[in-house]
């Protein structure tokens, strides 16, 4: 690229207001993987995977995938999101659909001025690599009733990282709610039946959901599709990927999901201080590392991995874990035990059962 071209692009980015904090995608470099680095059997249900990314399907297609946080990435990146076909589908039914999703909060898209005559274009850029030369599609879906806009991209060389940029026109007719709900859903096609393919969009809400997508790569197990360096920015110009530190990315991800691992470690037995409010349970406060998008749901990796302790010898394996209060800043969790022999008003704590880590999951995903 010539200096003149770079200066022209910089001028465009300036005009679009996209010089700093321009990447509206969190974890676009696939660095953060709180839930784990490998997800098997994807295909027939909605599954959240690498932070901020999820898998979704329609009509139960037979194709199955493993998603991993791969260390295979283009220069300047450490990771990619890798989909590998584990069950092939050589005959995709018309109504079948599978895709990799990314959601953006509506309040974070207000700068696009959707629903007005000054609605701005957006450009999505990313690095992609596939074992099959074929066409895939990306759909930007307006989640507040504004339809969708699909563009296709073609893998020209198998097993080679390729840089793609796709520009989508602003939506002048339908605004985005200024709230913490869904604004955009970006959908990368994995599998699409004929009901969903045919043509790209030339305006909002025309064309097919998955444009010119082809299903060739699904024909054999072991086929792979990888993506990283995903950037969505205002304007019609793709600028270089805006790298952020791991800490910055993690904090942004934790607005939507927090995983707290209490590790097996006999030298640090007190994992979660609590107060005893009943003879058979104790309650603790978990302060979220950052304010979450909304009050989170709470789950765990098995109540039997937690041990309820006091200082008087009534320790016992936990048998219930229930969220008993909280908001986007904190969650109160009550840990129960079978025997009602605790002293109300005293303090206690939660430990692991020392066989496995005890893990709490806080979910406020879009």
């Amino acid at each position: 690229m010539t200096k003149a071209r770079q200066l022209a692009d910089l001028g465009n980015a300036y005009d679009d207001g996209a010089l700093s904090n321009r990447n509206m995608i969190i974890n676009g470099a696939m660095q953060v993987a709180q839930r784990g680095t490998s997800f098997t059997g994807l295909g027939a249900s909605v599954t959240y995977t690498l932070d901020r990314w999820r898998f979704a399907d329609s009509a139960n297609p037979p194709a199955r995938y493993t998603q991993t946080q791969s260390t295979d990435a283009p220069d300047g990146f450490s990771n990619s999101l890798k989909m590998e076909v584990t069950t092939a589908d050589t005959s995709v039914d018309a109504d079948e659909l599978q895709n990799v999703d990314y959601f953006i909060e509506a309040q974070d898209l207000q700068q696009l001025a959707y629903g007005s005559s000054s609605a701005k274009d957006i450009t999505v850029s990313f690095w992609v690599k596939c074992s099959t030369a074929q066409t895939f599609a990306l759909r930007v879906q307006h989640e507040n009733g504004g339809g969708g806009y699909t563009k296709s991209y073609t893998i020209t060389s198998p097993n080679t990282w390729e840089y793609k940029t796709l520009t989508f026109s602003g939506n002048t007719t339908t605004s985005l709610a200024n709230d913490n709900g869904r604004g955009f859903r970006l959908r990368w096609s994995m599998c699409a039946g004929s009901n969903y393919t045919g043509s790209d969009s030339t305006a909002w809400s025309n064309g097919s959901i998955f444009g010119l997508h082809e299903n060739d790569w699904l024909a054999s197990t072991g086929s792979t599709w990888q993506i990283t360096g995903v950037q969505l920015e205002v304007g019609d110009t793709a600028t270089p990927y805006e790298h952020r530190s791991y800490g910055d990315e993690l904090a942004k991800c934790q607005r939507y999901y927090v995983q707290k691992n209490y590790t097996v470690n006999t030298y640090e037995p007190i994992k979660f201080p609590c107060w005893i409010g009943a003879t058979s349970n104790m309650t603790g406060e978990f302060v979220h590392p950052v304010p979450m998008r909304t009050t989170p749901s709470v789950s765990n990796n098995g109540v039997g991995n937690f041990r309820v302790n006091n200082s008087e010898g009534q320790d016992e394996t936990c048998n219930t874990i229930v969220r008993t209060g909280g908001n986007k800043y904190e969650t109160f969790i009550t840990f129960g035990k079978p025997t009602a022999n605790l002293t109300i008003g005293k303090c206690g704590y939660i430990n692991t059962e020392q066989a496995n880590d005890a893990v709490l999951y806080f979910t406020a995903e879009l």
């Binding site: 329609s58 009050t295 789950s299 209060g325 979910t363």
Partner: protein, 61 residues
């Protein structure tokens, strides 16, 4: 139609003040304590399925 969450059970749970403070639900095979917050995706889906008549929320124990 995209697959919904598979919610196989739902029961109100009591908070520290003794009021209904959440729902204990089995969602896609995993136990969740879901807050009564309409912006929470799990709660929104529970309400949707209740409205559709495919899910009933049991009273708290």
């Amino acid at each position: 139609m995209e697959n919904n969450m598979d919610i196989t059970s739902a029961q109100y749970t009591l908070g520290m003040a003794g009021n209904n403070s959440g729902i204990q639900a089995t969602i896609d095979g995993q136990e969740f304590s879901v807050p009564l917050d309409s912006a929470n995706t799990h709660y929104a889906e529970i309400l949707k399925q209740v409205e559709a008549g495919t899910l009933t929320i049991a009273d708290a124990d």
